[in-house]
Symmetry: C2
Subunit: 172 residues, 2 copies
């Protein structure tokens, strides 16, 4: 006979627990770019503001990712806050193998040689101040030096969100 | 006579640009807790997953915040992913002066003595592995050691979001 308490799921191991918990966590979506022998970039759901004076941001990047060799050496990176209309761009910059800067991606070379994507809610050019080892990832800290919200629609934009493995939007 | 291009807004200084850009960025909402001579905790919109094996998370905390003296010394912290129904809890843990653990906050002492809040989508007890100085803030890296999603409603929960200075929810 099986007692009711035997039907309770066993505790998850830490990696599974971590993954299940973060599927519940919603995040804004950003694309980080940098320039090496050519432009590189990737979709990040770990962008955070860290401090206001001086203005510092942080994000995580896999040390095995295709962008890392360039970001490991770059002095400046681009940070782009994506709008809800940019699911295709976010998907493209999360897909391995594809040329992320080919059509239909629209971009230009911005301040400090950083690739700047068109049509985002906001973009920032930031100077890297630290690359902190964290297992097989690095947490990058960078100071905002330039940027623009010029492409923002009147009244502000609608951000793209990521939750439970798919893109989403705000309710209001 | 004023030419049209004179009406274009001048470039923002970096701190103003940073603030305007991050008002466009949406974030999930978490509460970080720790235990010193008593429980401390604060609302964070900077929680991010960093690496999966071992499972690492990061968040930012002001070195001048009321929680920092405890988090500076703590070995373990609690991470709570808030649901859309927990706006009052998020507001309480963002307000200075109030006793954040008094009624109506429901909590208990969890693993490693960490304060665990009731009714969240997921909670994790994490061991701090680094406190990285970043201007007047610190970026804390911590490894997930235990936790639960037991309070999660069937089919998953609806996360609480923060955007443009106020709380919000997912559209779907």
């Amino acid at each position: 006979m099986t007692a009711a308490h035997d039907l309770v799921a066993p505790p998850l191991a830490a990696p599974d627990l971590f993954r299940s918990a973060f599927r519940q966590h919603a995040a804004g979506v950003a694309v980080i770019t940098a320039s090496g022998s050519g432009p590189v970039g990737f979709t990040a759901t770990s962008l955070a503001s860290v401090a206001a004076e001086p203005p510092l941001i942080s994000f995580g990047v896999g040390a095995g990712s295709s962008s890392w060799p360039v970001i490991a050496e770059a002095e400046y990176i681009g940070v782009h806050i994506l709008g809800a209309h940019q699911r295709r761009l976010a998907t493209s910059f999360a897909r391995s193998g594809a040329d992320r800067f080919a059509e239909p991606t629209r971009w230009r070379t911005g301040p400090e040689g950083v690739p700047v994507l068109d049509g985002v809610l906001a973009w920032l050019v930031c100077r890297i101040v630290a690359r902190v080892p964290a297992a097989d990832h690095r947490v990058v800290l960078a100071e905002v030096v330039e940027g623009s919200l010029d492409a923002l629609p009147d009244g502000g934009g609608r951000p793209l969100l990521y939750h439970q493995g798919r893109f989403n939007e705000l309710r209001d």
